[in-house]
């Protein structure tokens, strides 16, 4: 029951924050809303018992947003932004009915008896081994090819980031 309450709480927070992301006019607010949404999502992970995922979500995404933040401060042409502040705030209001519908649906689902706590497998695993070990063993035995591919992917993205981020490379186009 408690985890169910937590799920709905975090879920609605993340929805509200998500709405904030799309409706906010100031990029700084966008980032803050996004931060709220991601924290709420990690809250969902925690309430579902996926602690490692939750904590990593917190760590990785929070840092990611720090990067976004710096990007915004360093790259957004604030002067132009201040000139056309005619941002349509009504979008946020217009979205509200959809949210209401969504909630109604969610309640119907909840009442019909489908809930997360029924999923006993997750609970047993976490109780016996701990979240991290479970994931670790799975990752490094069953999915090790994916894991190695992941490293290549990371390498590629690293090279990509360096090539894109460096101004010097832009000179010959």
């Amino acid at each position: 029951m408690l985890s169910q309450i937590a799920f709905y709480l975090f879920g609605s927070i993340s929805i509200i924050c998500g709405l904030g992301v799309v409706s906010a006019s100031n990029p700084i607010y966008v980032v803050l809303w996004l931060l709220g949404a991601l924290i709420a999502i990690s809250g969902i992970f925690f309430s579902a018992g996926a602690e490692l995922l939750g904590a990593l979500q917190l760590m990785v995404y929070v840092v990611a947003i720090a990067v976004f933040y710096i990007l915004i401060i360093t790259a957004v042409p604030w002067r132009k932004l201040h000139k056309n502040e005619q941002h349509n705030r009504l979008i946020g209001v217009a979205v509200l009915p959809f949210v209401a519908i969504l909630y109604v649906e969610a309640f119907i689902v909840a009442l019909s008896g489908v809930s997360l706590s029924k999923n006993k497998i997750i609970e047993t695993i976490t109780k016996n081994y701990g979240n991290a070990s479970t994931i670790g063993i799975k990752l490094f035995s069953t999915y090790f090819w994916a894991f190695e591919l992941m490293s290549v992917l990371l390498l590629i993205s690293m090279i990509g980031a360096i090539l894109l981020g460096r101004k010097e490379e832009k000179t010959y186009d």
């Binding site: 700084i28 803050l32 931060l35 602690e51 490692l52 939750g54 904590a55 990593l56 917190l58 760590m59 929070v62 840092v63 720090a66 990067v67 933040y69 710096i70 401060i73 360093t74 976490t126 701990g130 979240n131 991290a132």
Partner: protein
């Protein structure tokens, strides 16, 4: 365990952490001022109370009765939100710090840790890095160039040292085979060795990262007084101004020192002779000696930080990031490889 008892236990733990943050955090200002003063051959605060013992109180009252100024062209919401975002995550780190061994009171087994979870150490790092938002936001919201530069510098430090600190911490985690802070200490007690003896490289890297994340000398560039006046706090006044150093210099140093104690210094365990055992001069206190040891270790670390702070000059921002990526990170990676060789040798 009944709900009421659980509630009381949690309440007590929360109050203790609150006391650490506010009471000890405030009194550390006095400790810092005294240490700095004596290093510089001054007596430090001497007027309010015996040897200035009431000075933090007087400071607090002074800060609270200052005028609340919002700089023109600052963003009211973000300006105030920044303080909340600096204070809250930094204090949440204490939730995963085990202050001592399991104790037995009134028929209950109580672990002196607020949330004992499997992934405590990751949570500590996550909350620690969340604190950057307070600083970064304060710089942008107060709409002053000095504040902005200071905030961006802090962001730069966090960007560089966040990865270093996690890589450094991987060593002890590999040895302890657990992400839970409580279990890491227990592993050290079982293996009869503090990980500082097995992980000297990662310890040094961690200490540097600690100094960097908390903005202590030689990494105090975000408020480098000579260039940026006080950096991101330049537009803040009164208690708002007081909270930033409290968070950065005291709460964060304390929390990261606690984490460091947990990872490398065996948490609450007494003096260690590697692979032989522990020597406890406070054995007569029973399980309570653990708390004493924890406090002693954190105090020593804090004094070490102060000692460094009042001796060294400071780096430049580009040198800080370069050191992080070109020295610290390769060292930490190297350390992981070495640990991978020695970890199977340990029985735990």
């Amino acid at each position: 365990m009944s709900i009421v008892a659980l509630g009381i236990i949690i309440a007590i733990k929360v109050v203790v952490i609150l006391a650490i943050i506010l009471g000890i955090g405030a009194y550390l200002t006095l400790v810092e001022r005294k240490v700095a003063a004596h290093i510089q051959r001054r007596p430090g605060p001497m007027v309010v109370g015996w040897h200035g013992l009431l000075q933090p109180l007087a400071d607090g009252i002074k800060l609270l009765t200052k005028e609340d100024i919002l700089p023109s062209s600052a963003n009211f919401l973000l300006y105030n939100l920044a303080i909340v975002m600096a204070l809250v995550p930094a204090s949440l780190v204490f939730a995963v710090v085990p202050f001592g061994p399991e104790i037995h009171v009134f028929g209950y087994d109580i672990k002196p840790i607020l949330t004992d979870v499997n992934i405590g150490i990751i949570m500590a790092f996550a909350f620690g890095s969340l604190a950057v938002y307070g600083v970064a936001l304060s710089g942008w919201a107060s709409n002053s160039k000095y504040a902005l530069i200071g905030a961006l510098r802090k962001a730069g430090i966090i960007i560089s040292y966040e990865v270093v600190i996690t890589f450094a911490a991987l060593g002890p985690i590999m040895l302890a085979k657990s992400l839970s802070t409580y279990d890491i200490v227990m592993a050290q007690i079982h293996q009869k060795v503090w990980y500082i003896f097995l992980q000297p490289i990662s310890f040094v890297v961690f200490v540097f990262a600690l100094l960097a994340e908390t903005g202590r000398v030689p990494f105090d560039i975000q408020e480098a007084e000579a260039e940026l006046v006080t950096g991101f706090t330049v537009e803040y006044g009164g208690m708002k101004f007081g909270l930033f150093p409290l968070v950065e210099w005291y709460v964060e140093v304390l929390s990261l020192s606690s984490i460091l104690t947990v990872l490398y210094l065996g948490g609450w365990s007494p003096i260690n002779i590697p692979f032989v055992g522990f020597v406890d001069p406070f054995f007569f206190l029973g399980p309570w000696s653990g708390f004493i040891w924890f406090i002693i270790k954190v105090t020593i670390l804090f004094l070490l930080v102060l000692w460094l702070h009042w001796t060294l000059p400071r780096y430049r921002i580009d040198q800080i990031t370069t050191i992080a990526w070109k020295v610290m990170l390769p060292l930490a990676l190297f350390n992981i490889l070495i640990t991978a060789f020695i970890a199977p040798l340990l029985r735990g």
